[in-house]
Structures are given as C-alpha cells and as structure tokens.
Symmetry: C2
Subunit: 212 residues, 2 copies
C-alpha cells in the first residue's frame, strides 16, 4: 500500500475551554502526531526552548515571512507577532505524517482560508457557566479582562459553523478519545483513499479468468 | 444535554470480504449498537431464531411490505425475498440509538436512495488475491460460481465511490477499531450537533454582565 498523505488537524475553541490541556494529553498517547510549533517575536521566557515551545524570530524576519506568504495564519497581540509556518506543516504532510495545530479561533479561520483541506475541530465547554468559572479561576486577570474574554468567547462560539467537528470538553480523557477517533476516521474517508485503492486494483491485476 | 438522534451505519463490501465476521466482532465490543434484523421469506434453518436471525415472513406479507414502502431495501435471491424493515430502524434512531446494517452492495445502494443520511462504510479486501483465496476457500461452491462471484466482487468494488468511508479488512480487530472510530467521530460532526449546542447556549443564558 502506498503511503497516504498526512492530514492537518486544527484544534480550536474559545479562551478557557482547555485546548492546551487536551492537546498535551493527546500528545502523550498519539506519539506519531507532529505538533506544529508557532513562530513568535515575543521574548523567550525562562525555561522555553527555541524550536520546541516557539520559533523565536526578530520582527523584521517575521514581517518578511508574512510578505512571502510563509505563514498559514498570524496575529499580533500586545505588539508581538504569533504565527504558523507553512513549510513545516506542508513537508510533514507530504512525508505522510499528520500535523496538529492548537490555535485560537481567529487563527483557525485564517488557516481555513489558506488550507481548507484541514480538519477543523472545535472544543466546546461543557456549559457556559463552566467556561465562566474557568476564566475567573485563572485568577490572574482583572474583572474587566474576564468580562472581555467572556464576550470574546461568546463570539468565538458563534464561529462554530466553520468547523468540521465539535468535541465537548466535559472530561479531558473523553475529549482526547474523541479526537483520536476523528483522526482514525478521517484516514478512512473514501475521498482521501479512493485513488489509492484504484491503483491497488490495477496493480493486483484482478483477472478472474486465471481461477480454476 | 438533549439526547442526540441515532445514526444509521451501513457496512457493506464485496462477497468474501468478511463483513459478517467484522460485524460479529464489532457487536461484541459495541453493546449499545442496535443490529437491524432482516426480513426474509426463506425457510427457517435449524437453530435460527425468528426476530433475532431473521424476521421470517410469508411471500404475501413481504410483497405487501414492498408495496407499502416499508423496506429500506430488498432483493430476491433464488425465489426468496430479503429486506430491511424501515420501522425498526427509524424508531431506534428516533430513540437516540445507533443502528447497524450489514448488507450486500446492491442493498446498500438502495438504502442510500431511501436514507441518504446514513453513514456508508465499504469493507475492502487487503488485496484482490486475498479475496480470491477467501472465496475459493469457502470450498462449497463450483468453479463457475467462484468465477461469477469474483466478477461480481470486481463490479462491487467499483461501487466504492458511493460510500463515505473505506475500511480495509487486513485484520478483523483493526477493522473493528476503525469502525468504532467512525461511529464516535460521526457523533462529533458539527452539522449533526450544531442546533443542539445553540440551544444549550440559549438555555445557559450567557449573560457576561452578571460576572464580578
């Protein structure tokens, strides 16, 4: 069997829904999956590793990447750029590896414009009360910031219709199990493998007259 | 969370590919799945149970079911009718249960006409040589019948483009695992659950002004 091309999976969802936790747990069990490391212009924090946590870039370098269409998505937060380099994603897919992006909703929508064949998974809070709690319980943010983030979350949930799948994050292990199933199932989609199977049939030289 | 409507899964594929074995193994692990029992006019064989192996019907009864559009598909083999009663399938789906059909390719295409929202899974032989072997090794059939069945299988494989998923039956456990993943993943499809989630959002009364 010829090796199938890899698939790009994009996990996104509102702030506070638990994307990071789900992604970490998923990578503990799905060791074949390639994680797309973002590029950023922000300063490296203590303990962070270049190429593993982020690709750290100068402002001028990053702007050149934007210019040359080398990013599947990018955004600017607090004067720093963040983005997803296209070359890593495409070379891994070409090599037959699945790539996984965990990303904010706005970024996911940009990826969709640039790479519509990706599989878009929306992580949904078990309830909106629960989402409120999670945002409030981070504790590091001012009441005003909490309010803004909840307003933002509401808008982000309305973007759900751009996604292929919705996974409720009521339990991290269940959510991970569902994402694993989506990965397996996407590889079984007929339109992804039909051409491949047609080749097998020809190669197999299915000449029934040789029987008997 | 409101209970989601069930999904109809249809497993099909060429003669000899191992549909029955895969279905039996799947039902050992997926105890929530409802198996759609076929109706037939053929005689009950020793050990067969009415309502479990088949719904045994008189010819006149069966023809009335056809007339009244009470079958999702039906066919006649060797003067006997075989078919899938619509009422059982629909009532189980309505009750939120998934229903599973294991069926010949021609029947699956009929189900697709009558019930396009079903999920159609094509079981593919690991190779066509292997399929030849399996058909020959059944040993009960004449060389001519084997030839006919292989010709038929080739035509059936060409029907693959009508299906949603293709699962290769190189190993029964792998095939079952893939079908399980397809079941989980289909329940996460955004278009199946979007309305439900919108209701949750409204019920949740997501009024961020109550924070703080």
């Amino acid at each position: 069997m010829h090796k199938q091309k890899g698939i790009l999976f994009i996990l996104s969802g509102p702030s506070g829904v638990g994307k990071g936790t789900v992604r970490e747990r998923l990578f503990e069990v799905e060791t074949q999956l390639k994680y797309s490391v973002s590029a950023t212009t922000r300063d490296k924090r203590p303990g962070e590793v270049h190429g593993s946590d982020y690709h750290f870039k100068e402002h001028s370098e990053f702007e050149k990447m934007i210019e040359n269409d080398e990013l599947l998505e990018h955004a600017k937060y607090v004067n720093n750029y963040y983005g997803t380099p296209r070359d890593y994603v495409e070379s891994e897919l070409e090599a037959g590896n699945d790539v996984f992006l965990e990303i904010e909703v706005q970024g996911a929508l940009q990826v969709k414009e640039n790479f519509s064949e990706g599989v878009f998974i929306f992580l949904f809070p078990p309830s909106l009360d629960e989402l409120k709690k999670r945002i409030v319980n981070r504790g590091t943010e001012s009441p005003e910031l909490v309010r803004n983030r909840l307003n933002e979350a509401r808008k982000e949930i309305e973007m759900m219709h751009n996604y292929d799948y919705v996974v409720v994050n009521d339990n991290v292990d269940y959510a991970v199990q569902k994402i694993k199933s989506i990965i397996v199932s996407e590889h079984c989609k007929r339109e992804r493998i039909e051409e491949q199977y047609k080749k097998i049939m020809k190669a197999d030289d299915f000449n029934v007259r040789t029987i008997n």
